[in-house]
């Protein structure tokens, strides 16, 4: 179903959504950064900004994620899962982030399914705003994750000027609309046409130098990237792990038990395959002791045909966050270009 929503209607809709649970949206903090935060009031929502650097994956996969509580009564241990099935709405996210969360959900649905993740994901409704003016660092057209989505969203909004076009893509989306049904009118044909026009226009914003995943994928998958090239590139990497932390589709983690008031809380924590000790075994052996092996591993996971076949998508949503956060200069577009050309910095 496709509707329109008057611009002023968003405030009342948000009020209704807030009654039903937590609403997270881009909010400008005192230091000027726009960050996804839980709303206290609809007025906090920011509309004119580039995508917040911290991705919204923290709402389905927090950086420190308590999974299980283990208590000790005398000599006897009791184990209980930690549930987080609070209803949440992510409001005013972008297409790339919707795709990112869909990717994470598919990863965690794969057998054996991760109930902890899925509890959060199944109770999360995504209301996204299609990008009519794509961001400078993004390359979502290369990864089929924007600027507009044709499927895979709960509710997709398009800014038509005085109103929003509202495309409903799932049951959760229907439920969100149903919170304030009087705000939504059936969309006119003109409105739908306008939306198509905006999408076509948005796509023209992407320059000719797009990401060329295809050719990089071929080389990565058949081992045709020279070791010497990886070696050269790693000299421009500072192993900060930032690319993993800000990436909407990265989900590597470690598990550790946190002592807390006489009990333990087993937590999942974000980790990075770029860290030296990521593959370090108890014996001291490290199969990826060299940085070039770790970088090779990262891009194999993100860009290889083997993974593409397994996941039906490349491990990137073109959001451009790694470009912004990379301490060195080895972000996704730079490395993919280097793989394609067979050269770095030449």
């Amino acid at each position: 179903m496709v509707y329109t929503l008057a611009r002023e209607g968003t405030t009342r809709w948000l009020d209704k959504l807030l009654e039903a649970g937590e609403v997270i949206a881009p909010v400008r903090g005192p230091c000027g950064d726009v960050i996804f935060s839980a709303l206290r009031s609809p007025a906090q929502v920011v509309w004119d900004f580039e995508n917040p650097l911290p991705p919204p994956k923290q709402f389905v996969l927090p950086q420190t994620d308590p999974l299980v509580k283990i208590k000790l009564h005398g000599q006897r241990h009791e184990v209980e899962p930690i549930y987080d099935d609070a209803p949440r709405t992510l409001f005013n996210v972008r297409s790339c982030d919707v795709k990112g969360i869909a990717f994470l959900t598919r990863m965690h649905e794969a057998e054996p399914a991760d109930a902890s993740y899925l509890r959060r994901a199944h109770n999360l409704t995504l209301i996204s705003l299609a990008c009519t003016t794509p961001c400078p660092a993004g390359f979502c057209t290369c990864t089929d994750s924007g600027p507009f989505l044709s499927a895979g969203y709960d509710v997709q909004l398009t800014d038509l000027g005085g109103s929003f076009l509202v495309e409903v893509g799932s049951e959760k989306g229907e439920a969100a609309i149903a919170r304030a049904p009087d705000l939504f009118q059936k969309a006119s044909e003109d409105a739908v046409t306008q939306r198509q026009g905006l999408e076509a226009a948005a796509k023209t914003h992407f320059g000719p130098e797009t990401c060329h995943f295809g050719s990089a994928m071929r080389r990565v998958s058949t081992g045709r990237v020279q070791d010497a090239l990886w070696e050269k590139m790693t000299d421009w990497c500072l192993e900060c792990g930032g690319c993993n932390m800000v990436c909407p589709t990265c989900y590597c983690f470690s598990v550790k038990d946190l002592p807390q008031d006489g009990a333990w809380v087993r937590c999942r924590m974000w980790d990075s395959c770029q860290y030296t000790a990521f593959t370090l075994e108890a014996s001291g052996h490290n199969p990826r002791a060299n940085r070039k092996e770790r970088m090779k591993r990262r891009f194999f996971h993100k860009v290889s045909a083997q993974y593409y076949t397994r996941d039906s998508t490349v491990g990137c949503v073109g959001c451009g966050r790694c470009v912004k956060t990379c301490l060195g200069s080895t972000h996704m577009p730079a490395v993919v270009a280097a793989i394609r050309k067979g050269k770095w910095h030449e």
């Binding site: 999974l67 299980v68 283990i70 000790l72 000599q75 006897r76 241990h77 184990v79 899962p81 990863m107 965690h108 794969a110 054996p112 399914a113 991760d114 109930a115 902890s116 899925l118 081992g223 989900y251 590597c252 983690f253 470690s254 598990v255 550790k256 038990d257 002592p259 333990w264 087993r266 999942r268 980790d271 395959c273 990521f278 593959t279 370090l280 075994e281 108890a282 014996s283 199969p287 092996e293 090779k296 591993r297 194999f300 996971h301 290889s304 083997q306 993974y307 397994r310």
Partner: protein, 273 residues
């Protein structure tokens, strides 16, 4: 939807010293003493929690043909195993699993079984060995070649005696360095090949042990005409979740915890590092 991170509580029922730094732990689930619902294949592993220390993967060393309890043999290498070695009968640990693909026991029926193990490589094979011996008439010839650095480092010393006495098992043991009253073979495991007759076309070879031993043994087997698909081993990697999600054990697009730890040599050759 199971909570795959939720451990079950198991109690230590028996602890046996194998070598100065290796012990075998016999475990029974505290709340399911008959082991109901706990089905595993030889070659699968568990994530064992020593509460207060953490969790680590250990292969199941006992056979599913003997339900109720299950066993794991652990060498002391770090903080967690240190703590585990200090536990006594009745103490509780956490168990998640079983994880991994395990050995394909069905496909092995009717075949001759060759087990080649070095040092701490015998425990993962022991699960399959006992499975085979408990269903002896379903399998062909059973040959076990086992070696360790010194006689003290041999694990399952009592069982080795038992297997030696069986007429339906051929067992040869060697040590790198003889000590005291050792009268058996001396030398690395590959030397035992000269003492057995092998039929590569009808035999599955299971190899487990230190990487260097595996390398020489596998080369030997392939030279003798074994097909790559008939040479089977287990891979080790740093693991955390055990369910193919944390990515620590990923090799290419395969996960040692989920697509392995059992792989044949054709599969190992195809793994993209």
């Amino acid at each position: 939807m199971n909570d795959v991170f939720l451990p079950e509580i198991a109690c230590l029922e028996k602890v046996r010293d194998e070598t100065p730094d290796t012990k075998t732990f016999t475990l029974r689930f505290r709340d399911h003493p008959n082991g109901n619902g706990f089905h595993f294949l030889p070659g699968q592993f568990l994530e064992l929690s020593v509460f207060g220390c953490g969790e680590a993967p250990f292969c199941i060393a006992s056979s599913p043909t003997r339900p109720g309890t299950f066993e794991t043999t652990v060498r002391r290498t770090g903080q967690l195993t240190d703590q585990l070695h200090k536990l006594a009968n009745g103490d509780e640990v956490g168990i998640r699993g079983p994880f991994g693909n395990g050995f394909n026991v069905q496909a092995a029926r009717g075949k001759d079984m060759l087990f080649v193990a070095g040092g701490i490589g015998l425990p993962p094979l022991r699960s399959l060995i006992w499975n085979v011996l408990d269903e002896r008439d379903r399998f062909g010839k059973v040959t076990i070649l086992y070696g360790a650095r010194t006689p003290h480092d041999l694990v399952y010393k009592d069982e080795l005696e038992e297997w030696k006495k069986r007429s339906d098992v051929e067992l040869l043991v060697t040590v790198d360095v003889a000590e005291h009253d050792w009268t058996g073979n001396v030398g690395v495991v590959p030397i035992l090949f000269q003492k057995v007759t092998l039929h590569p076309e009808s035999t599955l070879a299971y190899v487990c042990g230190p990487p260097i031993m595996i390398r020489f043994v596998v080369r030997d087997l392939l030279n003798r005409g074994f097909k790559e698909e008939s040479v089977i081993s287990t891979l080790e990697r740093m693991m955390q979740c055990g369910i193919g999600k944390c990515n620590h054990c990923a090799i290419g697009h395969r996960y040692v915890c989920r697509d392995g730890p059992v792989f044949n040599y054709r599969e190992i050759a195809e793994l993209v590092e």
